[in-house]
Symmetry: C2
Amino acid sequence: MPTPSRTSLSEIVAAGLTIVESDGVEGLTMQKVSAAVGVQPPSLYKRVAGRGALLRLIAETVLEDLGESLGSAATGFDPKADLRALALAFRAFARSRPGAYRLLFAPLPEDWAPDQEMFVAASLPVLRTTEALVGPERALDAARLVTAWAHGFLTMELAGAFRMSGDLDEAFEFGVERLTVSLTAG
Amino acid sequence: MPTPSRTSLSEIVAAGLTIVESDGVEGLTMQKVSAAVGVQPPSLYKRVAGRGALLRLIAETVLEDLGESLGSAATGFDPKADLRALALAFRAFARSRPGAYRLLFAPLPEDWAPDQEMFVAASLPVLRTTEALVGPERALDAARLVTAWAHGFLTMELAGAFRMSGDLDEAFEFGVERLTVSLTAG
DNA sequence: ACCTGAACACCGTTCAAGT
DNA sequence: ACCTGAACACCGTTCAAGT
């Protein structure tokens, strides 16, 4: 006699996302997730291979959201304006969902990092913009320069790693400007 | 009747550093540490407040090492050459000790992040170099641009986040060059 | 087919008891 | 003064048993 389903994979992922945001990656436990969806911990394993697999699913969801944010930030008309818009969208995303953002680059247990292609897909708007700026030859190097800077900046901002003195907004704008210059002067 | 000490704080930290390097931050358990120094887990609490405190001590050790690496990379004579040397030293450090490097920016449990001033101290060579390049006014913004890029690049390189196509060494050199240009053209 | 309780191997941490 | 074993509250995960 079949037992009626009391939860679903998407509900589990959604609950996990909420927990990651409030308690961080370390705070995501199968027990919290199971409690959030109204089930006992062992039942989760009917839908998810384990904690690592769940973290990957959550991270992939976040990557999709990030990709959408970036995708709608770039217009495709003015590459210099797009570069700035992408940077601002990136920062806005990380600041509004710091837990989710941190998950993307957190050292996940046992090779549960999200699929490589999902990172590529999410950063496609950046690659298109740098291609418009520096041409196809250097587009990838330029995209790496920009994304590395943006990611590093946000990681350090979220970690409070440079709250020394000075305005962080200004520091970010400084970065955008100089990067834009360096990619258009070449 | 006093029991003879069977270990020491420095031995514990050293053992922890080794474990972080081999097993990652998540892999550092008090049990592994205690086994490595030849003691029972509860004994560690005589010298260290807990796992978080130990991680902080380890991270501070790593920060000191990084600061030394950076400090000996810059000569102080040629700021442009120093910037490149700093970037290469930074990358060499992260690649030779990825576990230790990752620890620096890992989300540590409960506010156990290393002291703010230790980050500042470690990155002082970068600040001195950018000051020589762009002047005292913009030195901090410029240092943040460089360190954010370098940190972001290494985080993504270590995470395998952009092993797509293309040469990573080349991408790194591209970044150094463009950043140097952007900081000397202003 | 899905859920559950019990169980196992692991955690961090506390504490009374030993020397 | 330092160490230990026992204990506690928590983990992730497996599995036999229920419906």
